[in-house]
Amino acid sequence: MTGLLAGLDGGKLLRHVLGAVLITFLMTSLIVGLELVATQTGLSLRPRYHIVLYCVVVVALGSAAVFALVERSWRLPMLVGVVLAALLLVPLLTGNLDSDLAFLLPFPVAPLNWLALFLPAFILMRAGQLAYASARPPAAAARRRELSRTGKLISMGLGLLLILAAFAFPVSPWGSRQLVDILTIVLIYIMLGWGLNIVVGLAGLLDLGYVAFYAVGAYSYALLSEYFGWSFWVCLPLAGLFAASFGIVLGFPVLRLRGDYLAIVTLGFGEIIRVVLINWYEFTGGPDGIGGIPRPSFFGLPFQANAPKGGGETFASFFGLSFDPYHRIAFLYYVILVLALFTNWFTIRIRKLPIGRAWEALREDEIACRALGLNPTNVKLAAFGIGAMFAGFAGSFFAARQGFISPESFVFIESAVILSIVVLGGLGSQLGIVFSAAILIGLPEFFRELEDYRMLAFGLVMVLIMIWKPTGLVSHRDPTIRLHPRGDGR
């Protein structure tokens, strides 16, 4: 045991693991640890201890392994990886998938189970790699360079893998209607997270009313299609444009404020939009909302069972397929996937342009920026407007997917959730937002029955994150350019 922990600070390790366990315990107890059961006397909550226990054990082992990895020790992670892999692989190999794995892999869907298998494998891989590196110790600088290069490769590979998997998912055997639908929702929030990340993560402006721009986008499509009959593809850029102009109109008076004041005013603006939507009955339909919003078509081919009146073809008849509602769901999924990836690509690009650098500089030191001849108001307005534009895109997609929108969908909670996604993922981290959106949106979708407790869990998690990991789950900011590998030029 002492050999295993050689070179590690035991107290620090303990604190690290205990912290992780506590968070996991609270999170899993609230999100997945309770189950609503119908009994003879009515509904009652039943705890699911085994799932909580399982999560706690996995996280405890995993966090100890990660801690050891960070501290440059490889024995513990290796052992943990082997144990976990053995635990998970034995039932897999013996073929008792359903009965034995039911406890070890409690997730209700296959992809999550595969993820649970993948993580220990990943740890194992890292451990092996580190073991290899320490077996033949190279010069310190060279070793550091090698590690950072593999780290970069891994994160790049992971991103690419995720994108490929996302594209392949609907046509893969796991692509059920329900799952694709849930992933569509997750993708909407990933896109919103990426959009808000431009405002909060890059420019450092705390926006608590982001949902207002989402609402503007959704209502602009709904109203344009209702009053003028314009199609989704025409309205999509318009919705972005409207949302961006709302962002700029709001931003103009507001961006002179800083920090808390800005947050309060944006919060107020979010509510104002909602209240206007509720009360302007003649125009927006008020609390009744707007229904019958047309779905997007595939280059003019609608997803319907029967050809539209007046002739023309449907998607199914054009491609000689039999009609299946799954086509439409998969199509919507691809639309939001492309929109979200566009958002990501745009953010990555703009970070390397002068305006993106100006945002980061502004977040660091506004006075210095002013001394360099930057007009802070314009720079902030650009961030606000661009962030709002992506919310507008996402909003119009949301309206098209739902077919019905009402002010109910644009309450403050939504802003809070989107902000949580950004903060939890690590401000400014693109990949982190994907993970936190999957956790915060995906998991609760699977456990809908516990909706009432969700905000409680969010609040707790936010507080704990602020205490233990104030920079988020995946906190990493690469310089926008790297001229030579780390370790050189010393």
């Binding site: 002068p354 001394a371 360099l372 001849g373 900011r477 310089p479 780390r486 030029g489």
Partner: protein
């Protein structure tokens, strides 16, 4: 090049500058010395429009800039290395320099950055490093280099020697002289009166928001009152 006439500046109700007049001619190094709280930094900030000067006029190359906003002023061939350096700590040296050139035609960028690296070779070696991890002296060099990336004709330097080792101070002052010889006009605010006066063509002494004395650097160095107030016990 820069003419200030009877300018007043206020922080709330406190009058920090009480009718300051000062002139910087083309090609000069002008030094402004004074004790803590005399208003030296305030004067530099007032030139940049924050706080806004009142009562008098600030004229830069024939244009009245008193009423302009900061970002407009800073685009008229003037750059500042602010007090406390204020580099962007989480951005790399290279990114900091890119920020300095944000309002400059990108065609100049490569040449300008090479010139900065010639002045401060250490910055070239540190170009991929985050500015927050640099030493104090390196940060000061970066702050000056960043200001130079804006291609200023007039460079405002606020206490570039603050908190630095004597060797580094000497290095920085020699770079200032070199920049001046390349044609940059310099207005230097300093507490390190000895070095600053030796470097200056002309100098002003600021006390409680008012100019009390002016002359060539040599004259002020020799002046008994200046010696007593700013140099005795010093270097």
């Amino acid at each position: 090049m820069l003419v200030i006439e009877g300018i007043h500046a206020f922080y709330g109700r406190i009058e920090a500058l009480k009718g300051v007049s000062l002139e910087v001619k083309q090609g000069e190094i002008v030094t402004l010395i004074g004790a803590n709280g005399a208003g030296k930094s305030t004067l530099l900030m007032t030139i940049c429009g924050q706080p806004r000067g009142q009562g008098g006029r600030i004229v830069l190359e024939g244009t009245d800039i008193t009423a302009m906003s900061t970002h407009q002023i800073m685009r008229r061939g003037i750059a500042q290395s602010p007090e406390g350096r204020r580099v962007f700590p989480r951005m790399t040296v290279y990114e900091n320099l890119q920020m300095g050139a944000i309002n400059v035609d990108p065609a100049h960028f490569e040449g300008d950055i090479q010139r900065c690296f010639e002045l401060f070779p250490i910055l070239e070696r540190r170009r991929g490093q985050r500015a927050g991890t640099l030493s104090g002296g390196e940060q000061q060099m970066l702050a000056i280099a960043r200001a130079m990336m804006a291609r200023p004709r007039l460079l405002l330097l606020d206490e570039p020697s603050l908190g630095l080792a004597p060797l580094i101070v000497r290095q920085i002052f020699s770079v200032i002289r070199e920049l001046n010889q390349q044609g940059v006009t310099v207005l230097l605010v300093e507490q390190n009166a000895f070095h600053a006066l030796k470097l200056a063509h002309r100098a002003y002494v600021l006390v409680n928001g008012q100019i009390t004395m002016t002359g060539t650097g040599r004259q002020l160095l020799a002046d008994p009152e200046v010696r007593r107030a700013y140099l005795e016990g010093g270097h």
